[in-house]
């Protein structure tokens, strides 16, 4: 719905709210602005990588350790007395995620996917203005949340997994009570205040605040209880692509850079904010000046991961204001892709990886320290917009412009995972588990 000749700045209506046409029945659903031609884009499905989990991973040459301990369940079952005098298990150089579920049902591109913090549900947001809640184990469609008048760009779970917040192109943020049995209804008071599309949302760790970033260049902190703007951060002079809360809730990171429209080449940066005072504490800027489309704090809150439109994901040490890692290999030039941190290896002493979608239809998993690609997951037919990791299990969920939501499980997950996957497809990649039209 967005074209280059119409600047969104000019479209900002004076009263700040939607240009709805009454009944809303024939309201043209807004595509997430980024995937302009996403539906028509030529899907690049790499036929060579058909046999998924046999060849697709890239072995880290740099490590030199061509370990053949690909069957980690075996190495995990080493008796503890043996482990006492053996060095800690060697760091795997590849991951073995394989497709488990494919959920269809969205009528348009899926823009964001997220596991609930308790791991029970998967929420997927789509340009068809609905959110679908899926059972994370079986892939069964539990609920379809309807209420937004335009495409949804972002979703965020509250820390207690009872509330889901969604930000939409209709400029509103809605809260949904997901906990209730039966059909979840939208909270009666939508959070209104943004002048333009809401791009990004994040809950505070206590669940009492929500931070939102919007195309109108503003970052708002909302008091969830009263559905009011608590603080407005004079953040950026470009549309805000991503926001996130640090794990103790004292910092907010926001990023901008007109990453989604590519209309301007402009200042592109991430800013770190003090939640309590609303002060900007640090601005991160890379010399390449590529627009930043998405940001995320690391699980321990010491680093910031930023996606930029020069096909890079960068890890920043925000205290020193220094880029410590650059992850490359994927393609990211047009869309606001998402990703997440995940863990692999020994359960007690895990290593971290970074998962991100790519515009060539694959999902990249990088090792955080070595920057090696641990695995490249093929399956999506078109750009992968969102990837999220399960909070406790070795599981991934992804959603893309091909309207599907896919769940991937790791072969290293152990025997407990096997019985669950009996419900699933067990390797048959294109078997639809839930078909809804």
């Amino acid at each position: 719905m967005l074209d280059d000749e119409r600047s969104p700045k000019r479209r900002r209506s004076p009263d700040g709210y939607i240009e709805t046409n009454g009944d809303g029945t024939h309201f043209e659903l807004a595509e997430r602005p980024a995937p302009l031609s996403g539906e028509t884009g030529t899907p690049r499905h790499d036929q060579l990588d058909e046999d998924q989990y046999a060849h697709t991973f890239y072995r880290g040459e740099r490590d030199g350790s061509r370990s053949h301990e690909t069957s980690t369940p075996a190495s995990q079952s080493v008796p503890p007395e043996e482990q006492t005098f053996t060095p800690p298990p060697e760091k795997p150089t590849a991951l073995h995620y394989r497709p488990k579920l494919i959920m269809r049902g969205h009528k348009r591109a899926v823009s964001a996917v997220s596991f609930s913090p308790d791991g029970r549900w998967i929420a997927s947001a789509s340009a068809d203005a609905t959110i679908k809640i899926w059972d994370a184990k079986t892939g069964r469609l539990e609920h379809t949340l309807e209420g937004h008048l335009a495409g949804i760009s972002t979703i965020a779970w509250s820390p207690d997994s009872t509330t889901l917040a969604s930000g939409s192109d209709d400029k509103s943020i809605r809260l949904w009570d997901v906990d209730k049995v039966g059909c979840p209804v939208p909270h009666p008071v939508p959070l209104l205040g943004h002048h333009n599309y809401v791009y990004s949302l994040a809950f505070s760790p206590k669940g009492n605040m929500l931070v939102s970033g919007s195309y109108d260049e503003a970052v708002f902190i909302w008091d969830i209880r009263s559905a009011r703007i608590m603080r407005s951060l004079p953040a950026h002079s470009d549309p805000v692509g991503g926001v996130d809360f640090v794990r103790d809730g004292t910092l907010i990171v926001s990023c901008a850079g007109d990453g989604l429209m590519q209309l301007l080449t402009c200042l592109s940066h991430s800013r770190i904010w003090d939640t309590a005072t609303g002060m900007c504490l640090r601005t991160l800027i890379h010399s390449d000046n590529a627009p930043v489309t998405s940001v995320r704090f690391s699980p321990n809150g010491k680093y910031v991961l930023a996606w930029t439109l020069d096909s890079s994901v960068r890890l920043w040490n925000y205290v020193e204001g220094r880029c410590v890692k650059t992850y490359q290999g994927h393609k990211n030039e047009r869309f606001s892709l998402g990703g997440a941190f995940g863990t692999y290896g020994d359960v007690a002493n895990p290593h971290a990886f970074i998962a991100s979608g790519s515009e060539d239809g694959s999902i990249f998993l990088w090792d955080v320290s070595s920057k090696n690609v641990l695995q490249r997951l093929e399956g999506h037919d078109g750009p992968v917009m969102g990837v999220h990791t399960h909070p406790s299990e070795r599981k991934l969920v992804s959603g893309g412009l091909d309207k599907t939501v896919r769940v991937w499980v790791s072969d290293d997950a152990g025997p407990a995972e096997e019985e669950i996957s009996a419900n699933g497809v067990n390797g048959h990649q294109d078997h639809p588990v839930k078909e809804e039209t």
């Binding site: 700040g16 509250s158 820390p159 207690d160 509330t163 809260l175 009570d177 008071v189 205040g193 206590k206 669940g207 009492n208 605040m209 008091d223 969830i224 209880r225 009263s226 009011r228 703007i229 608590m230 603080r231 407005s232 640090v246 794990r247 103790d248 809730g249 004292t250 910092l251 800013r271 770190i272 003090d274 939640t275 309590a276 609303g278 002060m279 900007c280 504490l281 640090r282 601005t283 991160l284 800027i285 690391s298 699980p299 321990n300 809150g301 010491k302 680093y303 890890l315 925000y318 205290v319 880029c323 410590v324 890692k325 650059t326 490359q328 941190f341 863990t343 895990p350 955080v368 920057k371």
Partner: protein, 469 residues
């Protein structure tokens, strides 16, 4: 996690300076922060307890159960339970998980103070008007009440004849010391007693002041106590570590460390409290609008907090931030004093650094060498060879705001409906305005004019009334 980025100069300041906000939900008479500092309970004159979220400055929960003004509030250490005592002669123990009343205990007399045991939330000490203080064990449905002595019972010494005095002596304040093994009580005769919680027997008693003691507050660590007495002197005492096994409580000698008073005006102190570290003592003043802040190390007056425009009663320190909250006695508004950190402009401009004085710039050897971009890129990528740990969570520092696994009060989304009796609403951190029919829209006119709103509303809901001279 923000500490590494905040200006160390700001962090070094530990005493609030400026009035930064006001909170309002009904007319507040009593306030108390929880141990973690994320919630502020406010007891109102209409008997309702409003729990403020100190992060959002909004009401997080309302507790209804008292029919008269709230006299005292006391939190359990985990922040899940709240004990309230009202002028309706009853104590209510609240469970904040669902806002239910866990226990309601009635008394025969007006309640001065009620303090929860730090670890056992079913045990609390109550001091009553003209009646012996009680230690109440509410673990059973029917609570057990044990009377607490007024003084040390010493065999061989004749009981003093209490009938000589017109007013019957009674305990005016009671508080648990640190671990809860001992109780500190203050009496209307100016005595301080240390009472063993297990036996309900006094183990130490001494005369502190000739006048009745009105308020007494301990720090959370239990190592310092501030006592306000009717002779218009605030006394501070240093307490030994009562968890020490070797401590002989019976032979302790407690000395008054400092006496604070206003010699010129002979100000009456309404309420005293201590900063979380015990470094500062604050007192609200009678017939005056100020809060006096003394430093305990030197015993000197360091600050007078002003601009409240009304007499203040309860003064409370935030447990881990330089923030003082005080409840106004007339309007029932809660005033907040804190430190205002200026925006550092260099935080917004990453290419610049704030320097104290001119620095001669020495360019690097290769700084202006022209090199192909690819080489630069490659060199930069190759330089990123450090090991990065994104998972390990540093344990929170002691006294930090981060308590893992602690009780989290559920977030209620429909709190606004119950807040409709207030004509003034919070629009931001300590920012208020009158409710108007076209709300949700009006902020848009201002744009980013947050500053304007502060000034504008200060007048709108201004307390122009002055206390009659």
């Amino acid at each position: 996690m923000n500490l590494s980025l905040v200006d160390p100069f700001i962090l070094a300041q530990d005493c609030p300076e400026t009035l930064t906000g006001k909170l309002r939900s009904g007319s507040s008479s009593q306030i108390r922060f929880n141990y973690r500092g994320d919630l502020l309970a406010s007891g109102r004159t209409d008997g309702i307890i409003s729990i403020f979220d100190t992060e959002t400055c909004g009401v997080a929960r309302k507790l209804r159960g008292h029919t008269a003004a709230i006299a005292t509030l006391s939190w359990s250490k985990d922040g899940r339970y709240l004990l309230s005592a009202g002028s309706d002669c009853k104590c209510v123990l609240w469970d904040l998980q669902d806002g239910s009343r866990l226990r309601t205990v009635r008394f025969e007399a007006l309640i001065y103070t009620a303090e929860l045991h730090p670890s056992n939330h079913f045990l609390f000490a109550v001091s009553l008007l003209s009646a012996p203080a009680l230690l109440v064990d509410a673990s059973a449905e029917i609570p057990k009440k044990h009377a607490l002595p007024l003084k040390l019972l010493q065999p061989g010494r004749r009981e003093e004849d209490g009938s000589k005095k017109a007013a019957k002596p009674h305990t005016t304040a009671a508080a648990f010391i640190n671990s809860g093994d001992y109780l500190l009580t203050a009496t209307s005769q100016g005595r301080l007693n240390i009472i063993s919680t297990a036996s309900c027997e006094a183990v130490l008693s001494f005369q502190l002041s000739s006048a009745p003691i009105t308020t007494m507050r301990l720090t959370n660590s239990g190592r310092a106590v501030a006592v306000n007495s009717a002779d218009r002197v605030v006394r501070t005492l240093h307490l030994p570590d009562f968890s020490d096994e070797k401590l002989d409580v019976g032979n302790l000698r407690l000395e008054v460390e400092h006496k604070f008073q206003d010699v010129v005006n002979r100000l009456r102190w309404n309420y005293v409290s201590l900063s979380p570290t015990g470094e500062y003592v604050t007192a609200s003043t009678g017939d005056n609008h100020d809060i006096y802040v003394w430093e305990r190390g030197q015993g000197s007056l360091v600050k007078i907090l002003e601009h409240s425009k009304e007499e203040l009663y309860t003064v409370e320190w935030h447990p881990n931030k330089p923030l003082i909250a005080a409840a106004g006695s007339e309007s029932g508004r809660i005033y907040l004093w804190s430190i205002v950190a200026p925006q550092r402009w260099s935080a917004l401009a990453p290419d610049f650094v704030e320097v104290e004085e001119n620095v001669e710039y020495i360019e690097r050897e290769d700084e202006f060498d022209i090199q192909p971009l690819e080489t630069l890129h490659k060199r930069r990528l190759d330089a990123e060879d450090e090991d990065v740990d994104v998972l390990t969570v540093e344990p929170p520092k002691a006294g930090g705001s981060e308590w893992e696994g602690a009780f989290k009060m559920p977030v209620l989304l429909d709190i606004e409906d119950s807040d409709s009796e207030d004509e003034i609403e919070a629009v931001g951190a300590g920012q208020y305005r009158r409710k108007s029919p076209g709300r949700n829209k009006e902020w848009m006119e201002g744009g980013s004019g947050d500053e304007k709103k502060v000034n504008g509303t200060a007048k709108a809901n201004g307390t122009k009334r002055r206390r009659g001279d």
